[in-house]
């Protein structure tokens, strides 16, 4: 019974995600007015920014689970932290892709080192890819769980430090040519659309997370059973 309840939770989350994302995209296309300079194509903002925020949320969630693991030494937090990092990396890649498309449509280049968010996500992508390397090359067990947790905690500290570093480097290595400070003066319609889309991506991440965790737990149980049989 508990398994079917958990299954339902993933389904409810997935339905919420679909509903919110469809509403968000509809709002972004039909309700929000065209941006003054960039025009219609600026609407990728309503996917790009929520996806980026969701990636941060996933990394934060992973660090929280890592902290719980280190304080309680309960092995289940290891799997939860790992799954959260996994989701964070997926949304991080999506951020890089959507950001790259946005850069292409508005400035004609696929990559700009002047774009803070993109550079930060590139660093985070490299950092969290190494997390997978660390996990895959270490024997499973409490020590691997501890190391992964410590690494996940480093990640969440690295985010603000890297952001500060990128801001410092910006004025230095390449002058700021493009200003995309949309966040400072959002109209109500824009704000509502961003919030709806953010809710959608967050629900999507939660649905994927629940589903993935369920699969991984089943996998672990199956392996235990198989070992018990042989």
């Amino acid at each position: 019974l508990s398994t079917s309840l958990r299954n339902n939770r993933a389904a409810v989350l997935a339905a919420t995600a679909a509903l919110l994302l469809l509403t968000g995209v509809a709002l972004a296309f039909y309700w929000v007015p065209n941006a003054p300079i960039e025009g219609f194509r600026q609407r990728i903002f309503y996917i790009h920014v929520p996806v980026a925020l969701t990636a941060y949320a996933c990394f934060g969630w992973a660090a929280w689970k890592a902290l719980r693991l280190l304080s309680t030494r309960d092995a289940r937090y290891d799997l939860e932290s790992y799954t959260a990092v996994h989701m964070g990396v997926i949304f991080g890649i999506l951020t890089l892709v959507t950001g790259s498309i946005w850069a292409r449509t508005s400035w004609g280049v696929w990559w700009s080192w002047g774009e803070r968010q993109l550079v930060l996500f590139l660093i985070l992508f490299l950092f969290y890819s190494a997390y997978f390397m660390l996990r895959y090359s270490t024997e499973p067990g409490p020590r691997r769980a501890n190391m992964s947790a410590v690494y996940a905690l480093f990640g969440v500290v690295l985010i603000p430090v890297s952001f500060l570093a990128i801001r410092l480097a910006e004025g230095l290595i390449h002058p700021v040519v493009f200003d995309r400070d949309v966040g400072s003066n959002l109209a109500t319609s824009q704000l509502v659309t961003v919030i709806v889309c953010f809710g959608g991506t967050l629900a999507l991440a939660a649905a994927l997370y629940t589903n993935e965790l369920l699969g991984k737990r089943l996998d672990a149980q199956l392996r235990e059973l198989r070992e018990a049989l042989t």
Partner: protein, 212 residues
């Protein structure tokens, strides 16, 4: 007081080992000088003055990486770490001792690297030296923790650069900024901030990396 004497004993052990075997420091010295020579041929003649400072920082980070690759070699081969964890000493003392040893190796490499850079490329002023000294703390602190992680994995030498480089990008930013900007104070301040944050974090979390 016992904590500090533990740290001193552990750092002394590493330095004594290096003094007798001469495994790491000569390799770091040779590496950093050959890197600078390679840079001489990879820089176009008219881009020298500013670009050279950036390459100095690349050379320093990779030299630190080379030293860190060997930091836990003896511990792993002789299974010393298990013994150290069993002693009544605080686990973070192991980190601090190793960190100090790495710091000394780095300083020795820089005693050669900075004059060589001054001779081959651009002048090294007090600001650059200050930035290098500050960066050393961060490199040694983060590097020691990650080296302990990498030593516990199967991939070892392969894993450490992957873990290390994304984490030290802020050090490179701070270091390069302090070297070439007219107002280096905020870059030096940033390096201090980085050192504080990551030294405390590494110090506090080392215990979890070496225990189960």
């Amino acid at each position: 007081m016992t904590y500090l004497s533990d740290v001193a004993a552990l750092a002394r052990k590493d330095l004594l080992l290096e003094l007798r075997s001469r495994d790491t420091v000569p390799a770091m010295l040779l590496f950093v000088v050959s890197t600078l020579v390679v840079f001489n041929f990879s820089l176009p003649a008219d881009s020298r003055d500013l670009a050279a400072y950036g390459l100095l920082w690349v050379a320093l980070v990779f030299t630190a990486l080379l030293g860190l690759l060997r930091a836990f070699m003896a511990e792993r081969e002789q299974r010393v770490l298990d013994g150290l964890v069993l002693t009544p000493a605080d686990r973070s003392a192991i980190w601090l001792g190793k960190c100090l040893a790495v710091l000394v190796f780095l300083l020795l490499a820089e005693v050669v690297a900075l004059p060589a850079f001054h001779l081959f490329f651009e002048p090294v002023d007090a600001t650059v030296v200050a930035a290098v000294l500050l960066a050393n703390v961060g490199l040694a602190a983060v590097g020691t923790l990650l080296a302990a992680m990498a030593a516990a994995s199967r991939a070892r030498e392969l894993l450490l650069p992957l873990l290390f480089l994304p984490l030290v990008i802020p050090i490179v930013v701070g270091g390069v900024g302090a070297s070439i900007d007219d107002e280096p104070a905020r870059y030096l301040g940033f390096l201090v901030l980085y050192d504080l944050i990551f030294a405390i974090l590494s110090w506090a979390s080392f215990e979890y990396v070496v225990t189960e």
